[in-house]
């Protein structure tokens, strides 16, 4: 069964790729100041360095402001339908494991209409890099609350405040058995590209939540985390194998109390030894860290979980190979099964 029709191509040399190669000639159409611009720039910066020929990238998205992303990348791409991006990505990667598939989604696209495809992508561990632009609002449809909007959010469809408790995308991803889970910030120009790179290198579904500011409908939602003067006190940069410290002088740390609840402590007081050591391969550790939220604790950013598990397309390919060895010569053999001759 040689599939001989596929074009035999000579791949471009990825070592010479630059950021410019990844910018399409379409002008981005986001509002001035939208966090999406910054994410786009970082992706365009990181991609050339991954050693993958440009023609092997495919960007898939659903519908939303964020989902316009593929148009601005000079790669292959599909701007699909609302919420179904994970399914398109699964089809592409299953059929063509040689491609580097990226999925761009929003908090509405990925967790409202698309929530089911999202969890099934994760559990299957298809090797797709998922960037969820979480602005906690519906941008494209002009300002309704989303599944990640905080309780009480006053938006167009909730003039009296939202009454649905929000989903945390990280909790959902961990609940679905994701093998790579991370969080970063649209304007953290050091952190964002690092995490993108880690995600790209991970074999399996890499889920990256990016807190993204929507200056038009939900301005300042993450300002306490992104504001450079406060950032070090309000966020906790996770480092695998390291005790969990944060603060301008890294003076604060996290310990677990008797009820397994994380507490902020003064490192000088308790000593670094007592701090919780972060282990991205330990599920309990990931779960505990993922629940760090609230005014009194820092918001964790960075890779929250990274473990290896065979990817969906790998297992599929294996089955094709195994079955191929056992199979007959072709369709005619199959047709002939159970035949009889009339003379």
């Amino acid at each position: 069964m040689a599939h001989s029709v596929y074009p035999a191509v000579t791949h471009t040399d990825p070592s010479g790729q630059t950021k410019k190669d990844f910018a399409s000639d379409v002008d981005p159409r986001w509002c001035p100041g939208c966090g999406d611009y910054s994410i786009l720039a970082q992706v365009q910066k990181v991609l050339p360095g991954l050693g993958i020929p440009k023609e092997n990238y495919v960007f898939v998205s659903g519908i939303g402001c964020s989902s316009r992303f593929p148009y601005y990348m000079d790669t292959y791409g599909i701007h699909s339908i609302h919420g179904r991006g994970p399914a398109f990505a699964t089809g592409i990667k299953s059929q063509r494991p040689d491609l580097s598939v990226w999925l761009i989604t929003g908090d509405g696209d990925g967790l409202s209409i698309g929530g089911n495809h999202f969890i099934h992508l994760m559990r299957r561990n298809v090797d797709v890099n998922v960037l969820l632009f979480n602005n906690r609002i519906y941008g494209l449809t002009k300002g309704q609350y989303s599944p990640t909007s905080q309780l009480g959010t006053k938006a167009k469809s909730t003039p009296m405040g939202s009454i649905d408790y929000p989903l945390d995308p990280i909790h959902v991803a961990l609940g679905a058995g994701a093998t790579f889970v991370a969080r970063t910030l649209d304007t953290h120009l050091k952190h964002l590209p690092e995490i993108l790179k880690r995600g790209a290198e991970h074999k399996g579904t890499s889920f990256i939540e990016i807190y993204q500011n929507c200056p038009i409908f939900n301005d300042g939602e993450f300002v306490q985390l992104t504001d450079k003067t406060r950032r070090e006190d309000t966020t906790l940069e996770l480092e695998h194998g390291k005790p969990m410290r944060f603060g301008k002088q890294r003076e604060k740390g996290i310990v677990l109390d008797g009820s397994l609840n994380p507490q902020v402590v003064d490192v000088a007081e308790v000593g670094e030894d007592r701090l919780m050591v972060f282990d991205e391969t330990n599920e309990m550790c990931s779960l505990v860290v993922s629940r760090l939220t609230g005014p009194d604790v820092p918001t964790p950013i960075g890779v929250m979980r990274a473990v290896e598990r065979p990817t969906y397309e790998h297992l599929l390919n294996e089955q094709l190979t195994t079955a191929g060895h056992a199979a007959g010569k072709g369709v005619q053999d199959l047709l002939n099964q159970g035949k009889w001759v009339v003379t």
Binding site: F59, I81, L335
Partner: protein, 616 residues
């Protein structure tokens, strides 16, 4: 293992032309298996035949209940056979419920074989009988052969000391053996099958013995004075096999993959009666098939579109409610202009409806069930075997025109089987695939003379491009809100689909050149053809056209229809094709609907035609 140890026949043998037998019993009684064995043997004996399995609802009903009755009908003949037969000549009823459900269909004077052991008070009550019909004269219009099939089965395998449950389960082979005797059949095929199937030698032994005991019982009992024989049919010489519609679809898609050199991708979500296509293709990963059981129908369709974009031969299979869910994705495939085949194995609707029954009520949904102007070619196979060719044609159109194509099968052809001349793959024209590789002057929505755009797949340097569901600028494919461009694009896409008709051969007309025209589509082919033949035999001027192409229609259809005074349209729905014909050709076509979840019978077609033809 020993073979052929059954008694020499010495009773009289009467030759008959056509016989329909229905095996009926509880869901657990193995009637589908019994029927399939009888069919295979009959095919090997050189008869023409058609079968119709009629399952109970998906969920298992209580043993002995009316809802739990499972039936399998086979019609076999020494002349050509078009349908599984209207009224069975023989009914095998393994319990009272099976009798109650199926008796109304048995031809007066027909043979009834009943397993008397099951006619207990309890079972009679479950079936809604007040008295035992085997005894109260109810059955006086039939030739009743009532026998303790269970008891005789147990007796025949006594020495093997199986546990009772396993032993009782052999009774369907006893019944099969009896019917084999009745129609003077060779049992070698079934014996071989048993030996193959039952890995456990004791079980194989038991079933073989039950089979032979049934045969011998026929030969020895005084109940039967004679048995029957159906001569070989005048069948075109060649290599045959038995095939169901779902198998033929699966094989057709495998063939299309081979003919095109593409890798087959199936995105599907289980649903009756389409699931078997998924099961079939999942068994053939060795031929490069990637099957993906998605989380739902939407994901199944979307994954297939992704695979198509990536260069696969993409397929998604479902039934009615699943097609409804795929509507948005099909609209996207239409505007993206990627090749995709969507199979809808129609079942009784609306909503969950009658999931195991057949119907043709998704035609309008197939044509119009999407937002905006999103036409797609729609094709329908007319028989189990025809599914193979229709599958290939659907793939050919999808690739040639870069379009989603909808294939409408139904529950009846999906499960019914027929002897089928095995195609020679080397004689089927290959499917031409031209992937774009040249970046020079590449524009994603530049069309060839058919109106198809180039297929440019990821991985090829220089062809990087983005496609999406927003309206596209002509040629470039960039997003465009320009009013005139939108109108142009809607028309270009629609015309491209209409162009499919350019490749099609003229309409085949069976019968007279004027008078009444009967137009059908899909699985009703056999019944309509037979009905029209009967009406011609009665002297009516009448013809039959069966549509494989529901959209676009063949270009000469207008002329063909114009030649007739009257147009009648039998369909298993409330009148759908008839609407399309009336609208397209302004012909006062009359609907002959049947909406019972059951295929049309020849007799019903004849009656329906007669009301119109013989009333005037």
């Amino acid at each position: 293992m020993e073979k052929g140890h059954y008694r020499k026949m010495d009773k009289a043998v009467q030759t008959v032309e056509t016989v329909a037998i229905r095996f009926a019993g509880d869901s657990g009684d193995g009637m589908q298996l019994t029927g399939t064995q009888f069919s295979d043997t009959t095919a090997l004996a050189g008869n023409d035949l058609a079968t119709f399995p009629d399952f109970p609802a998906e969920i298992r009903a209580p043993a002995g209940s009316l809802a739990g009755v499972s039936g399998f009908q086979i019609n076999f003949s020494s002349v050509a056979v078009h349908t599984p037969g209207d009224q069975p000549d023989v009914l095998v009823a393994m319990n009272p419920a099976a009798l109650r459900v199926n008796l109304p269909d048995l031809r007066h004077g027909g043979i009834l074989i009943a397993n008397s052991e099951q006619f207990t008070k309890k079972n009679l009550k479950r079936a809604g009988y007040e008295a035992n019909p085997l005894e109260d004269g109810t059955l006086k219009n039939y030739r009743v052969f009532s026998a303790d099939i269970t008891g005789m089965t147990l007796k025949s395998i006594e020495e093997l000391r199986l546990n009772t449950r396993a032993a009782v389960r052999c009774k369907n082979f006893f019944a099969l053996g009896l019917v084999y005797w009745l129609y003077n059949r060779d049992m070698a095929h079934t014996e071989g099958w048993i030996n193959n199937k039952f890995k456990e030698p004791l079980l194989a032994q038991a079933n073989l013995r039950a089979l032979r005991a049934g045969y011998n019982f026929g030969e020895t009992t005084e109940m039967f004075e004679q048995h029957y024989e159906v001569q070989r049919a005048q069948i075109e010489p060649g290599v045959y096999r038995s095939i169901t519609g779902n198998e033929a679809l699966g094989l057709g898609f495998l063939a299309a993959a081979e003919l095109s050199g593409l890798g087959l991708f199936l995105g599907s979500y289980p649903i009756t009666p389409a699931s078997d296509i998924l099961h079939f293709l999942a068994r053939h990963k060795g031929l490069g098939v990637r099957t993906f059981q998605a989380e739902d129908e939407i994901a199944a369709a979307c994954a297939a579109i992704g695979a198509a974009y990536a260069g696969g031969l993409a397929l998604t299979t479902t039934s009615g409610p699943g097609l409804a869910l795929k509507a948005e994705a099909i609209g996207l495939a239409h505007i993206l202009e990627v090749p995709l085949v969507i199979v809808d194995v129609q079942r009784g609707g609306p909503s969950t409806g009658l999931p195991t029954k057949t119907e043709q009520a998704d035609l309008m949904q197939a044509l119009f069930g999407r937002n905006g102007e999103a036409p797609v070619p729609v094709v329908a196979p007319q028989s189990a075997g025809d599914c193979f060719y229709t599958a290939i044609e659907a793939c050919r159109i999808a690739i040639r025109y870069m379009t989603p194509v909808l294939l409408l099968s139904d529950g009846y052809i999906a499960n019914s089987s027929e002897p089928w001349p095995i195609p020679d793959m080397s004689k089927i024209p290959p499917i031409d695939v031209q992937f774009r590789t040249d970046p020079e002057g590449y524009m994603p929505y530049q069309r060839d003379k058919r109106g198809a755009r180039p297929w440019a797949i990821p991985g090829v340097p220089g062809l990087e491009h983005r496609i999406g569901g927003l309206e596209k600028e002509d040629l470039t494919g960039d997003i465009s809100y320009d009013p005139q461009n939108h109108e142009r694009m809607v028309k270009l896409r629609s015309e491209k689909v209409m162009n499919v008709a350019a490749d099609l051969p003229p309409t085949e007309v069976f019968g007279d050149e004027s008078g009444t025209l009967v137009v059908g589509w899909g699985s009703t082919f056999g019944a309509i053809r037979a009905g029209v033949q009967q009406m011609r035999a009665r002297g009516h001027k009448i013809a039959h056209v069966h549509l494989r192409h529901l959209h676009p229609f063949k270009r000469d259809l207008s002329d063909v229809i114009g030649r007739y005074e009257r147009v009648l349209v039998p369909e298993l729905n409330n009148g759908q094709l008839v609407k399309l014909l009336r609208s397209a050709f302004l012909v006062d076509a009359v609907s002959l609907p049947k909406i019972e979840g059951q295929p049309y019978k020849e007799r019903e077609i004849v009656e329906a035609l007669a009301t119109h033809l013989e009333a005037n």
